[in-house]
Amino acid sequence: MTTLLARVASPTVRPSHRVRHLLEHNLIVYRSVWWVILAGFFEPVFYLFSIGIGLGKLVGDVPGPNGELVTYAAFVAPAMLAASAMNGAVYESTFNIFFKIRYGNTYKAILATPVAPGDIATGEIVWSLFRGALYSAGFIVVMALMGLVESPWGVLALPATLLIGFAFGAVGMAATTFMRSWQDFDLVTMVTLPLFLFSATFYPLEVYPEFFQRFTQFSPLYHGTELVRSLTLGTLDSGLWVNIGVLVGMGLAGSAVIGRRLERLLLS
């Protein structure tokens, strides 16, 4: 993302090695509120226990990506992982960033130093990936302890969630650069909630009518869920490259928009 931003951004916003100072700043801030970070870990775990285990008792086994039957918990757990990676990244890159720009004032003070807007954007995305990695790693450990990681490929679920975080974080931040008021954030929920519910999260894609199945292909979270699910269940096929390609493309597109919009947003 750094090199991409460097290419599309003007000299005033271009990121540099100073990104690390932003990370250091966030480390100092969170040193005293580390429990906030801890809290984020529980969201997918709660979902897993209530839906995966509770509902799973009633549902029984369901067909996985390659048609083989798996327990409902093993089916839904990777989807929870993917969805929480999306939610975390979207929250950080929209609400949090908007607040910092509008009310926090910290960015304005930072911009008076050699740190440039590109450093701030890159730093915030890297930071949210770092946070997301902690949550994902924790959740993957819980999954493993419950016997829901059925393949050694499951280790790669961690980088897969980082890719999801990058894709949604970049697009979320790009969207934030266009937001004018808190009302605009209702649109964010209007997008993420259906993504969460209809991305083959809770049941296999085949349950839907064919028209709807094709529609789901446009959901980036569907690609994220497929990716993570295939890795933890060990059902890899060439379709994964499509999933990866969609997420990478989304992240790059978001980054390009951020690069162009940041100057307007932070320097006026």
Binding site: E24, A109, A112, T113, P114, L267
Partner: protein, 308 residues
């Protein structure tokens, strides 16, 4: 000593259809304290932000340290100390951490920062507050911390946007004392203010701004000499009698300003003018004799008072 740190020619800043800065020229020399004096909305802060390389110029030219703020923004900002109008401190961090992380933004080594923090805490008189959270500091303390923060990179040029606005008189005097020390050390300071006393106390040279333009330029003393008389007699008449009093004052002073609640007579000898007022049989409710200030200059140049 005649090295120009900031040079502006026809400098202009427009926001959509609002022209905040309307083609101004100025040069700021190394080692001087330069002031932008004017009411709110005169364009002072916009100029500061353009010099600080955080706001692109709309037209004209601007160089800072001989560099272009657009292309060389990082280089310029690394040599500046900025005290913005709003403190913009990290309220959730401790006093010490605010200085530390700000030093890191300049990529200073930790050891260097830690040494400087001790000096700066002493300078800002905040030694006892080093582990306090910023949100618990008083307004004056926050302002001093903001100034200390701006000094962490040992800047060649310090920008102070309304440094004492909103502070009580005692806090203002402490702050002026600190700024005066910086001046004694030979720092170059640029100050915006709408307080005349501040400009008169601190500035070697200043420009008076009104509606995005520079209306006068010079040292505080020369501006007062050029645009005002030496002394001022301020007369306040009982409610409802100012109109009739004005008739009797006619021709008494070379220049006269009538405000809503009082009349200002600009004269060379205010005591003699006061005697003349009595001789004409006028009974003022109160009469104040004072020296001319920049407030009077501003009133003269724009027809309005600075603080409305």
């Amino acid at each position: 000593m005649n090295e120009s740190l900031v040079t502006a020619r026809g400098l202009t800043k427009r926001f959509d259809d609002l022209t905040a800065v309307d083609g101004v020229d100025f040069d700021i020399q190394r080692g001087e304290v330069f002031g932008f004096l004017g009411p709110n909305g005169a364009g002072k802060s916009s100029i500061m932000r353009m010099i600080g390389a955080t706001s692109p110029i709309t037209a004209g030219t601007l160089t800072v340290f001989g560099l272009d703020p657009y292309a060389d923004g990082r280089e310029i900002r690394s040599r500046l100390g900025v005290v913005p109008q709003e403190n913009m401190l990290d309220e959730e961090l401790r006093v010490r951490d605010n200085l530390y992380i700000y030093g890191r933004y300049f990529s200073l080594p930790r050891k260097v920062i830690n040494e400087r923090i001790e000096d700066l805490l002493a300078f800002a008189h905040l030694e006892d507050k080093r582990t306090a959270k910023v949100e618990h500091l008083s307004g004056g303390m926050k302002r001093r911390l903001t100034i200390a923060r701006a000094l962490i990179n040992e800047p060649e040029l310090i920008l102070l946007d309304e440094p004492t606005t909103g502070l009580d008189p005692q806090a203002r005097h402490i702050l002026w004392d600190r700024l005066y020390r910086l001046k004694q050390q030979g720092s170059t300071l640029i100050i915006t203010t709408h307080y005349m006393d501040e400009a008169e106390q601190l500035c070697d040279r200043l420009v008076v701004m009104d509606q995005g333009r520079i209306v006068a330029e010079g040292s505080p003393r020369s501006l007062i000499e050029e645009h005002s008389h030496r002394e001022v007699l301020e007369l306040r008449f009982p409610v409802g009698t100012q109109e009739s009093a004005l008739l009797k004052l006619d021709g008494l002073a070379p220049r006269q300003e009538t405000l809503a609640d009082r009349v200002l007579l600009y004269v060379d000898d205010a005591d003699r003018a006061l005697a003349e007022v009595s001789a004409r049989g006028l009974q003022a409710e109160s009469a104040v004799v004072r020296r001319s200030t920049l407030e009077d200059v501003f009133l003269r140049l724009t027809g309005r008072s600075l603080v409305e």
